[in-house]
Amino acid sequence: MGSVLAASSPPPPGSGVVQGAPGLVSVPPGFSMPSVPPPSVPGQPAGETGSPLSNPGTYEECHRKCKEVFPIQMEGVRLVINKGLSNHFQVSHTVTLSTLAESGYRFGATYVGTQQTGPAESFPVMVGDMDNTGSLNAQVIHQLTSAVRSKIAIQTQQHKFVNWQCDMEYRGDDFTSAVTLGNPDVLLSSGIIVAHYLQSISPALALGGELVYHRRPGEEGAVPSLMGRYTGNNYVATLTLGGAGAHATYYHRANDQLQLGVEFEGSMRTQETAVSFGYQLDLPKANLLFKGSVDSNWVVGAVLEKKLLPLPLSLGLGAFLNQKKNKFQCGFNVTVG
C-alpha cells in the first residue's frame, strides 16, 4: 500500500513522494520477520460456509503482480545492512552514494507486534526510517478487528510535513472496501479522500471502483475510475479506466522460471501513451534473479540480482539505457543480511 497520493491525479503538496517510495513500499501486505519479502496474500481461502467467492484482495494490489516483474532504475552505489535484533524487531542501515541525487545515510527500524492473524502476518507493524538530513517516513499498520485493518503514514522532508495519511480497510467475504484520508488540513480545509471498492463477481473476475475527491482552498474536484481484473490459471489481466486515463496490465507466468508482464498506460493529463514489456527470469540454482524491460519510449533496462551464497550477501547490478536520447544510467547495490 504505497502512498495513495502518488496514484491520484492532483499533484500532492510537496515533492517528497519519490524519496518516500523506498520507505513506504517496503512494508506492504505480509509482515513476517525478519527478511522474508512480503508475500502478496491473494485472499482468504474459500472455505467459508458455502460461499464460492473469496476475498479479492485490495484495490492497489491488482496491478502489482505485473509491476513487480519490471526492473527498477538503479543509480549510484547503495549498501544496505539488515540486522534482525529479535523475532519482532529489525534494523537497517542504508548508505547511498550517487552522482545525480544526494548521497546520504538512512536508518530504518521495523517492529512487528505480537498479535498474529495468520502464518505470515502479525500486527501491529511499525516501520520508520530517518534520513541523515532529518527526513522521516513512518507507518503504523494495525488490525483493529478481524476484518478491519488501518494504517497511518507520515512523511516529512527535514522538518516539514509533506504527507500524512490515514486509511481504513474492511475485508468482507467477497469484497474489500477502503477509505483513505490524505493530508487532511482542518485549518485550510483541504485534503484528499479516496474510496476504493473491489468486489469478486466470479472466482476469476473482480470488479471495482475508486473515487478520489480532492479539495484545496478555491478548488475541488472528484475523479472516478473503474477497474476490472480477470485471473486465469497462469495469467492475470487488469484494466483501469478513469478520469485520469487508462491503465492495462497483463501478467503471465510462462513456467516456474519465467514471468512476463505487459503494461499499457495512457494519461489524459499529458495526452501520452506508453507500452512496456518486461520479463523476470528466476534461476534458483544459479542464485540469480534477472529482470529486463523494453519500453515504447526506447528505454531498455535490466537488473540482475545474485546471492553470493556462503555469506548472506546479495549483489544487484542495474543498467538503463535510453536509446533515443542516448542516455545511460547504471548502478549497483549490495545487501547484507
Binding site: 544459479a286 529486463g292 523494453v294 540482475l304
Partner: protein
Amino acid sequence: MAGIEELSPAVGPVDTRPPEGEIDEDEDEELDETFIERLWGLTEMFPDTLRSAAEVTVSSSVTMAKKLYSFSRAALWVGTTSFMILVLPVVFETERLQLEQQQLQQQRQILLGPNAGMSGGMPGMMPPAPVKM
C-alpha cells in the same frame, strides 16, 4: 542586262565569310568540352520521358541506399546494446552454472568411480545414513 545575279556561295564577297581555317579553329575553341560533357551530350538523343524516368530512378536509389546505410548503422548499435543489457548477463550466468555442474560431475566421477557419474550420486551416499540414525 545586268539585273539578275546568280546566287551561289562562291559569288558572295569573300571577306564576308570567315576563312575556312578560322572556322574550324573558332569552333574548336568555343566548343571545348571535357570528355564527360561530351558523353553526357550523347544522352540527349534519348526521349525526354526516358531521361526523366532514369534520373528519378537513379536519384531515388541513391537516397535509399544512403538511408539504408544509416538505418543499418543505428539498428546495429541499438540491437547490440539492447542484447548486451537484456540477454548477455543471463547467458554468462547460465554458462557458468553449466560449467560448475560439469566440474562437480567430473569430480564426483573421479572420486566415486564411473558408476556415480549420475547427477544424484545416490548409491555412494547410502552408507552414512544408517549410522546417523
